[in-house]
Subunit: 368 residues, 2 copies
Amino acid sequence: MTDPTTDLLPVGLEDRLPAAARALTRARRAALDAMDAHGYDRVIPPLVEFESSMATRMSGVATRRMFRFTDPDSLRTLALRSDITVQVGRIAATSLASAPRPLRLCYAGEVATIASDQLDPARERLQLGAELIGSDSAAAAGEIVNLAIEALAAAGATGISVDFTLPDLVDTLAESVLPLPAERVDDVRRELDAKDAGALKAVGGEAYLPLLYAAGPFEKAVERLQAIDAGGVLASRIDGLREIADRIGASARVTLDPAERHGFQYQSWFGFTLYAEGARGTLGRGGTYRLGGGEPATGFSLYIDPLVDALGPAPAGDLLYLPAGHDLEVAARLRAIGWRTVAALGDGEDAAMLGCTHRLDGSEPRPI
Amino acid sequence: MTDPTTDLLPVGLEDRLPAAARALTRARRAALDAMDAHGYDRVIPPLVEFESSMATRMSGVATRRMFRFTDPDSLRTLALRSDITVQVGRIAATSLASAPRPLRLCYAGEVATIASDQLDPARERLQLGAELIGSDSAAAAGEIVNLAIEALAAAGATGISVDFTLPDLVDTLAESVLPLPAERVDDVRRELDAKDAGALKAVGGEAYLPLLYAAGPFEKAVERLQAIDAGGVLASRIDGLREIADRIGASARVTLDPAERHGFQYQSWFGFTLYAEGARGTLGRGGTYRLGGGEPATGFSLYIDPLVDALGPAPAGDLLYLPAGHDLEVAARLRAIGWRTVAALGDGEDAAMLGCTHRLDGSEPRPI
C-alpha cells in the first residue's frame, strides 16, 4: 500500500510543513547572520547554470548526479545546481576577480541531486557556507573552522565536534619519509581511507600502518603523527593544525584522523568535518583548496536539515485572535511589538481551534 | 564581442553580487515577517516535483514552460517549479487537508521557467506569497489585498497602487444583462482584454463597449460599472469591491479595470495587480480561486526582484577591522551589539581597501 499523501512527491523530496519550516527558517537566518557578522558578504547565484561551468571550475562535482536539460535558448546543457561552492568560486574568479583579497563571501540556498546517496535518501538539501578567497594559510583555516562552528551553534547545534584531516598526507609522506612507488600511492590512500590494515599491508603500505592508529582526540593523535614524521616533512602542517585547534578552544571537541580522505579529494593540505550531538551524520565539511585559476581559498559548507530534524519542530508561540470589528490600529500596534495575529473572517469561528492562544478584548490581549 | 563574464551564465539567469544580495535578503525577510505577523505559517515545498502534480492541481501552469527531466528513480517526468502557488495548493489539499479552516500559509523561494516571456527576460525569480485557504469572500479578499500591500511596503515599495478586476465579468453579464451567444463569449473577452473597441464591435460585442470606459480610479470606475449593471447581477461583486477598497484606505491608490483578464484566467470573481512607483512592471497579483478539489481560496504572489533593482544596492554599513592579536572576547562582544567585523589574516593588510570603516584599538572601534 502506498500512502497517497507521500506518493505525491518523488522519493527524496519533501515538504517542510509549518512547524518544521519555522525551525528551518530560524536556523538558516541565524547561520547567515553569524557569517554576516564576521564580514562575509552574501552572494546569490542562480538555481540553474551551464553544466560545463558547474563541472569544470572545481573537479569535485560529478555532473552525472545533477538534474540536466537542454537550454532552448543556447542549445547547451544546463544543470540544476548540486553545490553552491562551485558557483561562488565562479563569482570570485569572474565578477569579483578584481575585488580586494582576502575576499569573504557566504551563501545559502537549496541544492539538488538526481540520485540520493546510500547514507542519505534526500535529493534536495539546504546548503549554507562561507568562502575565504585568497588564502589557505593556517590563519585562514582557523577563521573558517571557527566560523563554521559559530554558524552551526547559531543554527542550534550543541555538543559540536570537529574532525581534522590532512588530505594530501600520503602524497607528502610518499615523497620522502615513507617512500612509495608512484603506482602504489592510490592503493595506499584507498586502503588507509578504508582503515583496512590487512589490505594496506597487501598493497605494500605496511610502513603506513601507524597512521591508522594516529586517529583520535587531537592532542594525542597529533603527537603520534609527529612521532611518525621522523623527517619533519609534516612540521608546517602539524604547526598549522595546532594553531587551528588552539583557536577553537572550548567551543568544540577536536579530533584528528590524518589519513581520512573520503570527501576531501579536492582539498589541499587541510580538511575538516563537523558533527553535533543528536544530529545524524555529518553536518558539514570544509578545508583549503585552489580555485580553477590557482588562487588559494578556504571554505566550508553546512547541511543543516538533519540538525533541524534533530532539534524538533519550533514552537508556534502566542497567536492573538482579532474578533470582527476589532480596532485596526490597536492590532497594528500589537503586531509592531511582536504579536502574531489572526483576523476574524466571519462570525462563528473557533479561535482556539485556529491555534490562537489569546483574544483581543478592546485593546487588551486576553488568554483564551 | 561577447563579454566573457556575462557569457558564463545562460540568458535570463544571473548572480546577485553582495550589494544586491544584501538588498534582496533584507526585502525577502521583511516581506516574510509581515506575512508571519498576520498569522500566515510558512511552508517550504521542494524545488522539484512530478510534472503531473505541478500541472493538474491548478490549470494555470503551463508545463511546457518548465525545466523538465526524467526521474531515474520513478522513471516519471519531474519538473523544476515555475510557481509555488500550485505546491501550496497541493499541501493544503493533502498533508494539511484536515487542518482547521481558514488555513493561512505563506512561502518564499526561487522559481524558474525554461523560456523567458517577452516583457521580462528573467528565467529565475524570487516568488513570495500567501494563501488563505477555505474562503473566497470579500473579507478574505480584503485581508489578502491588505497583506500583499503590507508585505510589499515592508520589502521597500512606496507609491503602491492596486488595480482590481472582475475575472468572470463577461461570463456573468453574458448570462443575463448583456446576452451573448455562447460561441461569442471568448471573442468578446479577448477583445475587451485587448481594449480594442473596433474589434469588439466586429465580434458582436458592441453592448460591452461601456466596459472599456469603466476603467480608472476606483470610485468613478465602480460608479460607471454600476450604471452598466442595470439588472443588478453584479451587485454582490460591486459590494465586495467596495468592501475591499474601504479596507485599503490610504495605504495604496486603488483603480478598477473590470474587464482586465490577462493573467487572471484561473481566478474566480476577484483579481488584483500590484504596482509601485519606480519599479518596472507588475510586482505581484492575486485573487480568489478554487483548489483542485473545489475548496475556495484567496491568495497573492509577489515578485520583488524589480523592486529590489529599483531600490538600488543596500549600503554595506560600518565594518570593523580587527588587527592581528586583537582581544577575541572584545570582538565577540562588539559583534553581539551589531558590529560586523573583519579579522586580520596577516600583517600588511590594508583595512580601508577591504572596505573597513573602523579599526579596533584596544577595546575601542576608531574610525579609519
